[in-house]
């Protein structure tokens, strides 16, 4: 099984009127891997995922999903894919149990009752199983949706921001579960805006305005960015952002907690810009490996520049 591609699409394109939402992207996800799908708001993540599971017709592109042609065999694909929508899309006037039962019946799950019972137990909603789904808090809705789209043991999970609004503990549990399942051969494509989640992916794909800007493992993406980052800490750090912004060599500055990250691709120019402040007693300056977020900020700033 290893080496087989769960998703293998080329030139995926979607236009809404004259607007190109997804612009000929290629994605190849090997079976059993967890891929992160990143990009700013409106970059085309949801649109791409919808095309993969047959909810939107691709204007161009070809390829397969789980070995089936994604344009013509979406009915087959749907049976083996679990898709979690970005916006909660279960039935708010059905109870938690009824929602899961509906899903179980539609997929023809064997021993549905037991599976539903276990799922409810697992997500920790046993006591509230008769409550209407609409009455759940946002985070609990996400957890219900997630459980529901995994109910039928899919081979491929397409998750659109599954952990938005979910508390840190539940997010951890979710990712532990994802890794456990991927160990058993489940393939996952998950869109997210969280860096810590991106770092837990085998590979990430970053898109902007419908184009893939960069992809690879976290280390590769950082490497490819060609970015150098200096970290400024200390009492005076807060005032430094304004002073450094726009200096030659400084492409962008960003706070991470109280620390200021100053980044640019030209290391010499960056050093030159920082030199006047190196001796400041209220600051401590040191070079650091750029974080994934540094890279994304750079990509997004660059994207904006290109677009303007």
């Amino acid at each position: 099984m290893a080496g087989e591609l769960a998703i293998d699409v080329h030139g995926l394109t979607k236009r809404f009127g004259s607007k190109v939402a997804v612009n000929g992207i290629d994605i190849q996800v090997p079976q059993g891997q967890v891929w992160g799908f990143l990009g700013p708001n409106g970059s085309g993540k949801t649109t791409t995922i919808r095309m993969l599971c047959g909810l939107l017709r691709a204007d161009e592109g070809n390829g397969t999903c789980l070995g089936y042609d994604f344009r013509t065999e979406s009915e087959r694909i749907k049976r083996q894919v679990g898709y979690m929508t970005q916006k909660f899309s279960f039935w708010e006037d059905l109870s938690i149990r009824e929602n899961l039962q509906f899903v179980a019946r539609l997929y023809g799950i064997r021993r549905a009752r037991k599976v539903v019972d276990e799922t409810i137990e697992q997500i920790g909603l046993s006591k509230r199983q008769s409550q209407l789904a609409g009455e759940l808090s946002g985070g609990w809705k996400q957890r219900l949706a997630l459980a529901a789209c995994m109910l039928h043991d899919p081979k491929l999970l397409l998750l659109d921001e599954p952990t938005a609004g979910v508390d840190p503990k539940a997010r951890r549990d979710f990712w532990d579960e994802i890794h456990r399942l991927s160990g058993q051969g489940l393939t996952v494509l998950v869109s997210t805006h969280y860096m810590d989640e991106a770092e837990r992916c085998d590979r990430i794909v970053y898109i902007n305005l419908g184009d893939i800007i960069t992809s690879g493992t976290v280390a590769e993406v950082i490497e490819q960015s060609g970015l150098h980052t200096f970290v400024i800490e200390g009492d005076g750090a807060r005032n430094m952002a304004g002073k450094l912004k726009g200096k030659p060599g400084v492409e962008f500055v960003a706070f991470f907690g109280a620390a200021l990250h100053v980044s640019g691709r030209d290391r010499n120019a960056l050093e030159a810009a920082l030199r006047p402040h190196i001796d400041d007693a209220s600051l401590s300056v040191h070079e650091s490996r750029p974080s994934l977020e540094d890279v994304f900020i750079q990509l997004q700033e660059k994207g904006r520049g290109d677009y303007a």
Binding site: T85, S89, F102
Partner: protein, 378 residues
């Protein structure tokens, strides 16, 4: 695993729809309350024997007989004689201006002919635009006048009183050639109520899913358009049949509508008619983007159903183009079937002419609905 049709999946959708319907108390209340309310409103408005109807009398032959007829009409609580005149033009004008509902005319030589036994005519002109008021009162005129004259025809004339009818009543219904009676309207209401509620409920079927964002989820699961349609429509068929039962029970026991033909046959055709309406509603719901639009489409469909089906106006009185539109509506044929079965005791052979159009309609619109169903969010 069957590809496009699985009872298991239909069952899944069906159970879901029933649960959701049960939770939606307001809609459920409306669905069961509306037919009863409409029936009572319409039914009683019609059934109510109107009294004190304004009437005019034209007397072309004054005399004791005329006097006793007018007096008897005055005494009955059916009529209020607002005018007794000898000018037929004036009386006709009162009728046209809606000041009176009837004009009773005592023609020239009425007394002479009566005495001779030549059976003179008592002329009644009735404004039949409001058939509810005209039908009973028209019958009453003949009776009241007859009784009045019976008292006058004494002595040598007593022999006239004993003859079957000393005079004849000629009724001239104006403005409404085909007379609609309450028996006509209560069964007709069944068709209108079903059209309204069935189209409305189903037109919400997909629209609501789309509006709430659950459509995306439904589409992402392995369920086919036919399965969704059957699953969503079936609960409404049950509701429709319950409505039909409510209307028919009320028609029978509150309004005494005769039911001569087979009720089994009637229910079978009602099921067919419900399905035809559901197909319309389902087509609407594949088009409408939100529930408001669905509602507007329902009204768009309901108006011709009320106006051009023969429910509100006599079908034969409509212009030809309107009749053609009427013929294309399922409710037109359904009304004929219902009236035929209930009032005339028609069987399958007689109603077939109006049953096959229902099948054609169901098939055509059902196909459109399935073709319109989009499997994607585009």
């Amino acid at each position: 695993m069957t590809r496009h049709f699985s009872f298991r999946r239909i069952w899944a959708v069906l159970v879901k729809e029933f649960i959701q319907m049960r939770r939606d108390r307001l809609t459920l209340g409306l669905i069961l309350g509306v037919p009863l309310m409409q029936l009572l409103l319409f039914g009683f408005a019609i059934n109510n024997d109107p009294k004190h109807l304004p009437a005019a009398v034209t007397i072309a032959d004054p005399g004791p007989f005329a006097d006793s007829i007018v007096a008897a009409l005055r005494n009955s609580d059916y009529f209020d004689i607002v005018e007794a005149t000898n000018d037929p033009q004036a009386a006709r004008r009162l009728l046209a201006e809606d000041k009176v509902s009837f004009v009773v005319e005592i023609p020239v030589n009425f007394s002479r002919d009566l005495v001779r036994g030549a059976q003179p005519q008592l002329l009644v002109e009735a404004d039949a635009t409001d058939p509810a008021s005209s039908s009973n009162a028209v019958g009453a005129i003949a009776q009241i006048a007859g009784e009045a004259l019976r008292d006058d025809l004494t002595g040598p004339l007593a022999v006239r009183a004993q003859s079957a009818a000393p005079f004849t009543t000629v009724i001239h219904r104006l403005y409404n050639p085909e007379i609609i009676t309450q028996y006509n309207i209560v069964p007709g209401l069944l068709g209108i109520i079903l059209t309204m509620t069935m189209v409305l409920m189903t037109s919400m079927a997909l629209t609501r899913e789309r509006e709430r964002g659950t459509y995306e989820n439904l589409l992402a699961m392995p369920v086919t358009p036919v399965e969704i349609m059957i699953g969503k429509i079936s609960p409404n068929i049950v509701v429709g049949l319950i409505q039909a039962a409510i209307v028919l029970v009320a028609a029978r026991f509150i309004f005494g509508v005769p039911m001569i033909g087979s009720l089994g046959l009637l229910f079978a055709i009602t099921g067919l008619f419900i399905a035809a309406n559901l197909a319309v509603g389902y087509t609407f719901s594949t088009i409408a983007q939100n529930q408001l639009q669905a509602m507007q489409m329902m009204v768009f469909f309901l108006l011709p159903a009320i106006l051009l089906s023969g429910f509100a106006f006599p079908f034969r009185g409509m212009p030809v183009w309107a009749q053609w539109i009427g013929e294309a509506l399922p409710v037109t044929h359904f009304l004929r079937v219902v009236r035929g079965i209930l009032l005339k005791g028609n069987g399958p052979a007689e109603i077939w002419v109006d049953v096959w159009p229902l099948f054609v309609f169901l098939f055509a619109v059902g196909t459109v609905a399935l073709l319109r169903f989009r499997r994607t969010l585009d």
